[in-house]
Amino acid sequence: MQCKQWVILAAALMTTWVSHSALASDEVVVYSARNEQLIKPLFDAYTKESGVEVKFITGKAGSLLQRLKAEGDNTPADLLITVDAGNLWQAANMGLLQPVSSAKLSEAIPAHLRDPDNQWYGLSVRARTIVYNTNKLNDSDLSTYEDLADPKWKGKLCLRTAKKVYNQSLVAMMIAEHGESQTEAIVKGWVANLATKPFSSDTKMMEAVAAGQCEVGIGNTYYFGRLEDKDPTIPLKLFWPNQQSSGVHVNISGGGVTKYASNVNGATALLEWLASDKAQNLFSDSNHEYPANAQIKPSAQVTAWGSFKGNQVNVAKAGELQVDAVKLMDRARYK
């Protein structure tokens, strides 16, 4: 019995070996931190249109970066996709990406949503804004992120964990705007106002706001979109803060060509296609996000949430200041 099992095992190993070696040249290999269900439809569409095969694996951004680093110049990856600017900035910083100059890309993507050195490009915009319980509050009660640190919100605020990169980017951008000490005071104010321990996800946090455990929170708009899909009568509403000042905090989901890509042209072509009119809608609509290309309108549902002024500072700043933001939140005991 043992013997037979070993034969099967060996056969299985050989199969994977062979299938691995048979890498066709007419394909692009992608490491994606954007989850499978949010990226595969795009790749399928691309393959259908161009005939180019897209091979990909998903994972946490940090692991993917480490894998790229360990593989070095032998990496099979051509393109790296993440769901935040911080990790792209980090990848560029670690020398894992290469600059791509493409007229199509620089035309489609606004300057503040791409790397100044063209190592990466934002493909969709994710707005992190304020959500509130419509049974308890009105638009007029709210103004800015900073205002949520005011003691009047004591016991009324819900936040997601500081371990999520979205919050780290938000705080990083606040550091860029206000400097460390003022930002630290604000974050401490938030922590003091918390109604309950930080949640592990935006969805849980928003559900808590809707259920009345607290009155207001900070979250990404597409989570609100998903809750709205499930229950259109949910007593939640989005509010666009900081409209008189810096604007709503935005982050990107984006990508860059890897330093040792064996198929640079293929990767660039895929990136350009993802920034194209057609793909932009697919990209953002699949997850209630905003297209990075300002010319493209978001989906009807997203449009209905209203327009807002977004933060115009280059999102690369979020990457640059991420570690500072993490340390600051640790000091403020924001878990």
């Binding site: 299985a12 994977t16 091979k55 994972g59 480490q66 032998n74 592990s200």
Partner: protein
Amino acid sequence: MNRVARAISPVTRLFTQGWRLSALVISLAVLTPVMVIFWSLFSPDLAVWQHLKEHLLWELTANTFWLVLGTASGTLVLGVALAWLTAVCEFPGRKIFSWALLLPLAVPAYVTAFVMVGIFDFTGPLQSGMRSSGIEWALPEIRSLAGVTLVMVLAFYPYVYLIARNAFATQGKRALEAAQSLGYSPRAGFFKVALPMARPWIIGGVMLVIMETLADFGTVSVFNYDTFTTGIYKAWFDMFSLQAASQLASILVIFVFIIVLLEQQARARMRYTTVGKTAGKQERIPLKGWNSVAAVGFASTVMLLAFIIPMTQLLIWASDVVMDDLDSRYFDFLWHSLLLATMAALLVVTAAVILAVANRYYSDLTTRIMVRVATLGYALPGPVLAVGAFIPIAWFDNQLRDGLHAVFGYDGGLMLQGTIVTLLIALCIRFMAVGFSAVDGNLQRITHSIDESAHSLGSSGLTLLRRVHLPILRGGLFTAMTLVFVDVMKEMPITLMTRPFGWDTLAVRVFEMTAEGEWERAALPSVAIVLAGLIPIILMNRHAQH
């Protein structure tokens, strides 16, 4: 002392040296990633370290300590009590409970976690229902140390239960009777004799729980409870310092190694080979009256919390999305999960047999340490171990490729990376402890007189292993395979990081959904993981009963 080499031919001696060599190779394989991680101690990231030390380290250590203490004592009490009830006592439904209590093994801890939080948190159905019907009780906060400990105890107690049950069943009622004939009540006898006699196995089970708790990330993140492991993740993923992460991981490994060695030392000269014969069928203690009611109530409560409630919630969630999400790709996910789990289980058990046999032949310090080192991987958080394994493999692979290219002009691409080999190596390193403890526990029960009588009949070396040890070990091997199989099915971070293209598994699917907070959609692959894991568990039980 060397029991075998004493009386046997040089050929056999060479052969037993072979065991030792193989054990050395295995422990080196495990040691390599550990060393890669330890290497960080030579080039520490002082900036990040300083920050960790100042603001996090103390709290993380305290949090981890309480969690480990709570989980270890909880699983100890629950596992031992249930094992005693089902192995030695008789009460209504005992036979069903005996195997049903193992089922929670198939439920990943992070799944129990998100189900429990989903049900018991402020926004969950329980509290919502209470609010809408005007009940104003304040339930204890589920997202707390108590909550996370409860979930871990419910998820991990089967390790202790399974191992302790086997120990009690082998020990039988005889030891208790001996104590009774010397004036001890059955209750006193349990604590004075039965429990100490089962100690090495129980501690082995608790060690698995401790290591699993230390390495856990999924469960604690659902609760947003900060431990050493979340600290490692933070250092690496949020502060981009793999060095600082490795420094933390090194501390963790050293800590675990010390516990393991202390435990070894404490056992010293004692041998736990069962002296008496094993329990017959009629030798159970019948529970009467309230005792029997209490036993049924206790076992049912555990079943309800650890399996029935989570499964029911999962099924409800899964049924909401099954029409949209279930497609033909699920066959691939399932197939990959099963294939991976089976291969890893076979590899781990083979290696575990080698380690256990080497451990049996040689009780010198080197071998003992070697064998212990080989089981350290279980305490490392998955991604840290993955990176520790990946770096040397990638290095070797790159050298190999460049070498081949330079000498033969052959460019075969990468040989190991991106193949299932890397993933399997990493999984084996991680789960060696699970396989080893099950195999070694059983091998210890084979008395040396069995060896000696086999020698006298002319069996030694491989023949001895094949004809005498393996048949006796069959139960242990099966247990080991099942545990590893189920663990691999549930495993997430290593699979995520080192899997080849197109090798998405059910656990990866769960990750994709939970990463976006879509717990309801994660229910479908979770149910599949549980169902696939149930099959070997039920088989294992059948096996154990015959």
